[in-house]
């Protein structure tokens, strides 16, 4: 669990710093494919890694900015009341994509394991 989570966090962070947002999907998918032990492991790791990454960076920027941009975006979207929580919305959005990507990675692994003889599978590990 912790391993999948940490690897996802590291790889997704690298992809997010150097590339566009959706690269988090292949990154989470790949880590999950290689290291997830169960559906639960995949979903939780994928969700938490991206959720924490996006939430913490959004929160960091929000605090340093004294909430100025969050207030304006809240007003822009017509949800002024949610402005202080916008960082969580960012996190949940990222987390959702992370969880789903990890889940697909794990399913891919399951299908592959079912089709591949165990020996071949272990060579991959």
């Amino acid at each position: 669990m912790l391993k999948t989570f940490l690897y996802t966090l590291v790889l997704v962070s690298l992809m997010q710093i150097y590339s566009v947002w959706w690269t988090l999907a292949p990154a989470a998918l790949l880590v999950s494919f290689l290291s997830a032990k169960s559906e639960k492991d995949a979903i939780l790791s994928g969700f938490l890694a991206v959720f924490l990454l996006w939430t913490s960076l959004a929160l960091f920027r929000d605090v340093a900015n004294a909430g100025i941009i969050a207030t304006r975006i809240g007003a822009l979207l017509g949800v002024q009341g949610l402005s202080p929580l916008l960082f969580l919305i960012s996190g949940l959005l990222g987390g959702l994509v992370g969880a789903l990507s990890s889940y697909v990675g794990f399913q891919l692994k399951t299908v592959r394991q079912a089709k591949t003889p165990p020996s071949a599978h272990y060579e991959h590990q």
Partner: protein, 822 residues
């Protein structure tokens, strides 16, 4: 099998989700990239504390090192070692703070908004193309290209803007780019010229030709002359009568026989009127009347206010210039400001420099059009216009030009079909530019009245009243711009475009433009009113701004002695309404309405100031509007929006005269008197106010009626400044008018060995809605206070007094810039 299904389904969901979150749905931003803290709106969360100290920065394109010092208000002060680097850095730092605004202006000016916003902007874009905005900008650029000094400055500015764009990563794009999912387009010299065209239309794009022509048909020449061409008896012209006017040899162009030969009522001519309150105040007071013994100057341009502001504060310093003030994002130089020797500011003239000509046209071939001129068919030139509508097909239309100017197409509706060639041509000063960039280049460097005047000679349109004060002790006012030497009233009506005698005559020589220097009264002032006294030998316009602001300012200035900056500040914030002061007693005298006598009493006791917490100004405003409407609504159907003004009504009331149009022609049995019109419009006023604000008269406060909402420049909700409560009215020196019009910049300058300036605009230096500098100045502006304008004579002063400095090194081209400033 089960796991294959799971894989297939989850993969499909994943891809759908990725697509849905990455796609731009309608007016929404792309959801995931917008919310990603790595690339979305969170990147706009700039730190809430100002940096301090010195930053190093390498920048390809510079010839030498440049220091940019930001003061505590985030205003950049550029110290360059040559003019190339100076204007390069002006472009660079302006783009850093205001790139989106520059982008939007460039697209809007060229009529290209459909490229960003889709088909809804087609109507707007077509109008811009039809009035020849790009055509005029190209002519302007051609003039600059013959002037190497100005061309170099403009090239440098463009290079600087592009240097900023080139180092900008996608994640750093301003918020609006992310909302609209677009990328910055490279800046060009033409875009700077287009911005000047936009200002020219805003300030010199008014035309009453259509309304006047129709009114003359409906009511006759005498009626029009008596009620529409007349001037208020309270008018204080900007330039009072001058002795030397009589000695001038050049006379007004005589009126030709065919002058009034277009009788037809023209209906299908669409002319978008710029805001009639686009105006301003400026004045200067002689050193004899100031506490310092040096002249003082004030200037506050009234424009439609937006977020971010049309103004960007800046200081420009190189070995041959040191000027400070406000600039236009999108153009080099300081536009309102001062240097170590002189100060200047502008107000609008609004001369009649946009005319329509009736033209007989015919199709000569599939894409050829001819028009009849001096007994012959002349071929019209043409331009092919392409509208690259976002997410739709390109629309193409061919627009034709006569020697007058663009031939206005008949069809004005939004349509995907190219329009038919029309029968009216537009003649506009915007298509006959001079070198306005040279004007500001020289003005920034001018040291005395002679150099000031020489700079102003480069003005074509939009004509401006330039106020001047200098350390030599001079004050002056110069009505600057190109005015054709028209016969009395030329272009008041649509003219016959087939006769050369109706073409614009050559301009009034610059020396003959109205102007004055060091008048005996000790002050000069302008508030967009009539440019010169009635005995000025040339004709510029029938009706300019109402007398109210100008009269108030002149009378206030006349009483000043040992004046201080505080006196000037109070006058800029003055909310006295002169029209109300003269007219309301006449209205109250005549009305016999029994409705709400207590409110009528409160009007009688009013001091004519527009204070936000009072309800009396609202009563006056709605009553006078309703009264005006009652007098003119019936006739108005015939002559459009140009109707006898309240100033004409005021003069008639004071003379106890009546006019045929006081009667409502729709009620045949009754002949309405002024008293009846006043009574009914007063009763309607009470009904209107109850309907709009409820029974409780305490909710009719002026702040409600005149609520100011400074909108984002692309009208994006949440990014503007809403619900502003201030004093003032469009007829007061503090000309704040709902919803968003008013003093877009207030400046006061005290001349002296150390020139001191004060200024404020509603907004802030940063165009980033996520920055504390986005609305930094707003509260001060609302409160009517000013910030000191920091003005450093050298880098030592800048280092000692500035907040932080950025040292730019001239990098070799192959070295990458390090974007270390935020």
């Amino acid at each position: 099998m089960k796991s294959i299904i799971k894989l297939t389904v989850s993969t499909l969901i994943l891809f759908s989700l990725l697509f849905a979150l990455d796609h731009k749905w309608g007016g929404l931003p792309r959801i995931a990239p917008f919310f990603s803290p790595f690339e979305g709106f969170w990147v706009q969360a700039s730190g809430s504390t100002q940096p301090t100290g010195t930053l190093q920065f390498g920048l390809p394109g510079l010839k030498d090192g440049v220091q940019v010092t930001y003061d505590s208000l985030a205003v950049p002060h550029i110290f360059a070692q040559n003019d190339h680097d100076l204007y390069f850095m002006q472009g660079f730092v302006t783009a850093k703070d205001r790139l989106w605004q520059m982008e939007l202006q460039a697209y809007a000016g060229a009529g290209r908004l459909t490229e960003l916003l889709g088909e809804t902007m087609l109507d707007y874009d077509r109008y811009q193309r039809r009035i020849g905005m790009v055509y005029g900008a190209e002519k302007f650029l051609a003039i600059i290209e013959k002037d190497s000094v100005i061309l170099n400055a403009l090239n440098s500015y463009t290079e600087g803007v592009n240097a900023w764009i080139e180092q900008l990563g996608e994640a750093q794009y301003p918020l609006e780019y992310k909302l609209l999912d677009i990328a910055p387009e490279p800046w060009t010299n033409l875009k700077s010229c287009l911005f000047i065209m936009t200002m020219t239309y805003d300030l010199a794009g008014r035309s009453r030709d259509l309304e006047m022509t129709n009114a003359r048909v409906a009511f006759g020449q005498e009626w029009v002359d008596k009620y529409l061409v007349t001037r208020s008896s309270f008018m204080h012209p900007i330039i009072p009568s001058q002795k030397n006017w009589e000695q001038w040899e050049l006379k007004q162009t005589p009126r030709p026989d065919s002058a009034d030969s277009v009788p037809a009522v023209v209906q299908d001519l669409m002319h978008k009127q710029p805001d009639e309150n686009n105006g301003s105040n400026n004045w200067a007071l002689s050193g004899d009347k100031t506490v310092s013994g040096y002249p003082m100057l004030a200037s506050d341009p009234h424009l439609n206010m937006t977020a971010p502001s049309i103004w960007y504060q800046i200081q420009l310093h190189s070995p041959n210039v040191n000027a400070v003030g406000v600039s236009f994002p999108g153009a080099p130089f300081v536009i309102f400001g001062f240097n170590e020797k002189i100060a200047w500011g502008e107000t609008n003239v609004d001369a009649d420099v946009l005319d329509y000509y009736a033209l007989e046209t015919r199709k000569a071939a599939s894409d050829k059009v001819e028009y009849f001129y001096e007994g012959e068919w002349v071929e019209a030139t043409s331009r092919l216009e392409n509208y690259k509508v976002r997410n739709a097909e390109v629309i193409t239309e061919r627009l034709y030009y006569s020697h007058h100017g663009p031939i206005v197409p008949n069809n004005n509706a939004i349509t995907l079909q190219p329009s038919e060639v029309g029968n009216t041509a537009m003649k506009w000063i915007g298509h006959e530019p001079d070198n306005i960039f040279r004007l500001f280049y020289q003005l920034n460097r001018a040291a005395n009245y002679t150099e000031f005047k020489e700079a102003l000679s480069y003005m074509s349109g939009p004509a401006q009243n330039f106020v001047f004060a200098s350390n030599d002790g001079d004050i002056a006012m110069y009505v600057s711009g190109t005015f054709p030497n028209k016969w009395e009233g030329q272009g008041r009506y649509i003219m016959d475009g087939s006769k050369a005698e109706n073409d614009w005559p050559p301009r009034i020589p610059f020396e003959y433009n109205p102007h004055m220097k060091n008048p005996e009264r000790g002050f000069v002032s302008s508030a967009n009113q009539r440019s010169a006294a009635v005995d000025y030998p040339f004709w510029l316009q029938d009706q300019q701004a109402p007398f109210s602001r100008g009269k108030r300012i002149n009378e206030s200035l006349a009483t000043l002695d040992k004046a201080t900056v505080e006196d000037f500040r109070k006058l800029q914030m003055d909310d006295f309404n002169y029209r109300a002061a003269l007219m309301l007693p006449e209205m109250l005298k005549r009305t016999k309405s029994p409705v709400e006598p207590a409110l009528l009493d409160s009007l009688a006791n009013w001091d004519y100031t527009h204070k936000s917490h009072k309800i009396v100004p609202t009563l006056w405003q709605v009553w006078s509007n309703n009264f005006h409407q009652a007098l003119t609504a019936d006739e108005r159907r015939e002559y459009g929006n140009y109707r006898p003004s309240l100033e004409v009504v005021l003069d008639l009331m004071l003379a106890n005269e009546t006019a045929p149009w006081f009667d409502d022609i729709s009620t045949e049995e009754i002949v309405e008197t002024l008293q009846m019109q006043l009574d009914t419009s007063w009763e309607k006023t009470i009904q209107d106010l109850i309907k709009r604000y409820g029974e409780d008269a305490l909710s009719w406060k002026w702040a409600k009626y005149n609520e100011v909402n400074i909108k984002h420049n692309a009208q994006i909700s949440g990014l503007g400044f809403e619900g502003i409560v201030t004093n003032g009215s469009s007829l007061s020196p503090n000309a704040i008018r709902a919803p968003s019009h008013g003093p877009s910049w207030r400046m006061i300058v005290e001349m002296g060995p150390e020139v001191k300036g004060y200024g404020v605009y509603p907004g802030g230096q940063s165009g980033n809605p996520g920055s504390s500098n986005y609305d930094r100045f707003l509260q001060k502006w609302i409160d009517g206070e000013l910030f000191p304008i920091h003005f450093y004579r050298n880098t030592d002063e800048a280092n000692a007094q500035g907040q932080y400095s950025v040292m730019m090194r001239a990098n070799r081209k192959d070295q990458l810039a390090q974007p270390t400033i935020k």
